[in-house]
């Protein structure tokens, strides 16, 4: 008797879940244009680590997608920075030893260390 009641509630619960899932899918599909719903996999921005050590950006050439997050980690024995090279449009400011600085990749750009001006790197947005 008790088992029958449990089975009945289990079935009702499963039915409720199926209806809920169906309801969510319907809402999403109706809200989005058809072509967007056909994209099978949606991936978020990646985090890419760039180590600064032995007076080099490692790697010096960073290939990313637009919106990816680049984290510069200073593991060197001196302070460095990351500065846009052509017009100094942006800069990290001094990155102390063992500190990090994070930026979002928006476009391909050459950068350098304005403290050690011969240290250079490049971000390539694919």
């Amino acid at each position: 008797m008790r088992i029958d009641v449990l089975k009945k509630y289990s079935l009702l619960y499963c039915l409720f879940c199926l209806l809920a899932i169906g309801s969510c899918n319907t809402t999403q599909e109706s809200d989005l244009p058809k072509e967007e719903t056909e994209v099978p996999v949606v991936t978020g921005p990646k985090r890419v680590k760039v180590y600064i050590k032995q007076m080099k950006y490692q790697p010096a050439v960073i290939e990313v997608n637009k919106g990816d997050v680049i984290v510069f980690i200073n593991k060197d024995i001196v302070v460095h920075d990351v500065t846009e090279e052509a017009t100094k449009a942006w800069t990290s400011g001094p990155i102390q030893i063992n500190d990090t600085w994070t930026m979002v990749a928006k476009e391909s750009v050459n950068f350098y260390c304005s403290i050690h001006v011969v240290m250079k790197g490049k971000i390539i947005v694919k």
């Binding site: 032995q54 007076m55 024995i77 050690h116 240290m119």
Partner: protein, 173 residues
């Protein structure tokens, strides 16, 4: 001064030299002392440049030298404290200091118009000599692995400083 340091390294490395026969090795305490003195000398030079130069590139280079060598000295002092090593004065340190004093007097006495080139020329030569000393003398002589790793880091910094000095030298010529 640069020639003196280079010659000293060459003499030290030569198996037939008097120095090599009488002083076959440097202790870690002596290596640490040389490292601190070599950094201190370039900080002195940078202070003169910051006082005398009006050139933007020279001033930026001097600022970088002062900051980097101060940072390296702080780490060297922290490491020797941790290792319980007391830096020990020695012939290489004394030679570095006495030659640096002559260079310092010469740089200070120069008229402003001649200073920038003289300072950068000296930085190019000094870094070449110190790179040779760290690579061929100090690193091979160092026993402690942590001190050796710090010196290897310093070598990378010195290479970049030299490249930077050569770039400024080219702009001045």
């Amino acid at each position: 001064m640069l020639t003196a340091l280079t010659m000293f390294v060459v003499q030290f490395m030569s198996p037939n030299s008097l120095y090599a026969q009488e002083n076959p090795s440097l202790s870690d305490a002596e290596v640490a002392h040389i490292a601190v003195v070599a950094n201190q000398i370039d900080i002195y030079y940078a202070a003169i440049a910051k006082d005398k130069s009006k050139n933007k590139d020279v001033l930026q280079f001097a600022e970088t030298m002062a900051n980097d060598h101060t940072a390296v000295m702080a780490q060297a002092k922290e490491l020797v404290t941790k290792l319980g090593v007391t830096p020990k004065d020695n012939a290489v340190s004394q030679k570095l200091l006495s030659d640096a004093e002559k260079t310092r007097i010469s740089l200070k006495s120069l008229p402003a118009a001649k200073f920038d080139k003289a300072y950068i020329d000296n930085e190019v030569g000094y870094h070449k000599a110190v790179i040779a000393a760290v690579r061929d003398l100090l690193i091979p002589e160092t026993e402690n692995q942590e001190l050796k790793e710090l010196l290897e880091g310093v070598l990378s910094a010195l290479d970049i400083h030299l490249e930077h000095a050569l770039m400024v030298q080219k702009k001045l010529s």
